[in-house]
């Protein structure tokens, strides 16, 4: 049997996902990075973007908002502030969230907490939209 990879997604609020596959593609700092079983131990910073886990003919997509990935013993551990499965993303909702966040950022008088919240929401929505589009593209 061919060697397999384990992918583990961990966020501060919960352990989001854990599963197996044949290969993982990460949005690494200096460009996308593919990981196959038997990869050398590696520590990499991630950019906000899409993580792809391929398992046979199936590909699972996740949206992550930056973070780190550690590759060790055929195991990819991913730490991100937020991570979501593509299936859980609602494109329309993400678009609304994006608009809301943009509107929020335009209001000058908002205090620092709401500003930071809005900024984070904006980033999240952008990544979500990107991943949702990727998913659509694959279906066609």
């Amino acid at each position: 049997m061919a060697k397999r990879l384990t992918l583990e997604l961990v966020t501060p609020e919960l352990a989001a996902f854990s599963g197996e596959g044949d290969s993982v593609v990460l949005p690494a700092w200096e460009g996308e990075m593919g990981v196959l079983p038997g990869h050398a131990p590696f520590l990499v910073q991630l950019k906000p973007g899409a993580v792809r886990l391929r398992d046979g003919d199936e590909t699972r997509l996740f949206a992550v908002s930056g973070g780190f990935a550690e590759i060790r013993d055929d195991k990819v551990s991913l730490f991100a502030e937020t991570a979501e499965m593509a299936e859980a993303i609602d494109g329309e909702r993400a678009r609304q969230a994006l608009e809301r966040a943009q509107a929020e950022l335009k209001r000058k008088e908002a205090d620092s907490l709401t500003m930071a919240n809005a900024e984070a929401a904006l980033q999240r929505a952008l990544v979500r939209l990107k991943v949702a589009e990727l998913r659509k593209g694959r279906r066609r």
Partner: protein, 303 residues
């Protein structure tokens, strides 16, 4: 002696107080369970973070001793011995939770007494903020105030708090950041914790745990380079720590409130019982008196 009417009024008020405290206890209990599971859910992330950083320990030592460490990284571990200090005080937003806030405020006063010169403050929770605002003659600079975040603490709060704390640390040459908060020990117990958040000391003292026979850190590949990675990792680590503390404090507050309200309900029930007995006694005394008067009147007529 209070009249029967007064007693009845009092019984009514005690009963409704009892109902309220009971309801508050239920709410606190339900929320505590939720925040307990939030702590557990946050644990893997914090553990992994710690592992990651300690796996970089060797490189860090080499980097620091070579004197080539970038200022941004170095500051996390070493800081000027002489400098202003900062305090992160995590209190509750609301009262009615026993000694929870009092203990914190007393510890904060202690801390302030031990400082000379200006202090920097990061205040989480309305109680701590209001208290320190009322203090006169305190030479302080408030870096950030977070009020009204309980009982729905999210990582974004830790993010905002961490950013303010780190900015102040880096830009204003602070010697240290201390934290005072309550830790959740069990549903019945909270423990006051005083510790130093920055500079990070924990990793220097204890040896890096062996990684289940995994490769030594030196064999790890990095992208981007080690320094950039570490300076991106450390702030996140600090924020993860803060997040954990916020969650702990939240669970501790809720459990303290649960206990306080439980005690209040019990007291109210006891008080209600005593008042009931008193009222019944008076009522009976009145009836007895009336009967005695009737009997006396009848006897007078018959005579």
């Amino acid at each position: 002696m209070a009249s029967l009417r007064d007693l009845r009024r009092k019984i009514k008020s005690v009963t409704s107080t009892e109902q309220i405290t009971k309801a508050m206890k239920m709410v606190a209990a339900a929320r505590m369970r939720r925040s307990q599971s939030a702590i557990i859910a946050a644990r893997p992330f914090a553990v992994k973070m710690e592992e990651l950083i300690s796996s970089l320990e060797e490189e860090r030592r080499a980097l620091l001793s070579s004197g080539e460490a970038p200022a941004g990284v170095r500051a996390f571990f070493e800081s000027p011995a002489e400098g202003e200090a900062g305090l992160i005080l995590i209190t509750a937003d609301k009262g009615l939770c026993g000694a929870f806030n009092t203990v914190l405020l007393r510890a904060a006063l202690d801390w302030l007494r031990g400082r000379k010169g200006k202090v920097h403050l990061a205040l989480v929770g309305r109680k701590g903020r209001d208290f320190l605002r009322r203090l006169k003659g305190l030479d302080c600079e408030v870096e950030i105030e977070l009020a009204g975040i309980f009982p729905r603490v999210g990582f974004q709060h830790a993010e905002v708090l961490g950013k303010a704390v780190l900015d102040a640390y880096a830009q204003k040459g602070l010697a240290r950041w201390d934290v005072i908060y309550n830790e959740f020990k069990s549903a019945a117990q909270q423990r006051l914790v005083r510790r130093t958040l920055l500079p990070l000391a924990a990793f220097g003292s204890e040896p890096a745990p062996a990684f289940n026979g995994g490769p030594r850190p030196a064999e790890l590949g990095y992208e981007p380079d080690y320094e950039a990675l570490l300076s991106a990792l450390l702030p996140r680590f600090v924020k993860a720590e803060l997040y954990r503390m916020l969650l702990e404090s939240q669970a501790a507050e809720l459990s303290a409130r649960m206990n306080a309200m439980d005690a209040a309900s019990k007291n109210a029930a006891e008080l209600r019982d005593t008042l009931n007995v008193q009222a019944n006694r008076q009522r009976q005394a009145m009836i007895t008196k009336e009967i005695a008067e009737l009997v006396g009147g009848a006897e007078a007529l018959a005579a």
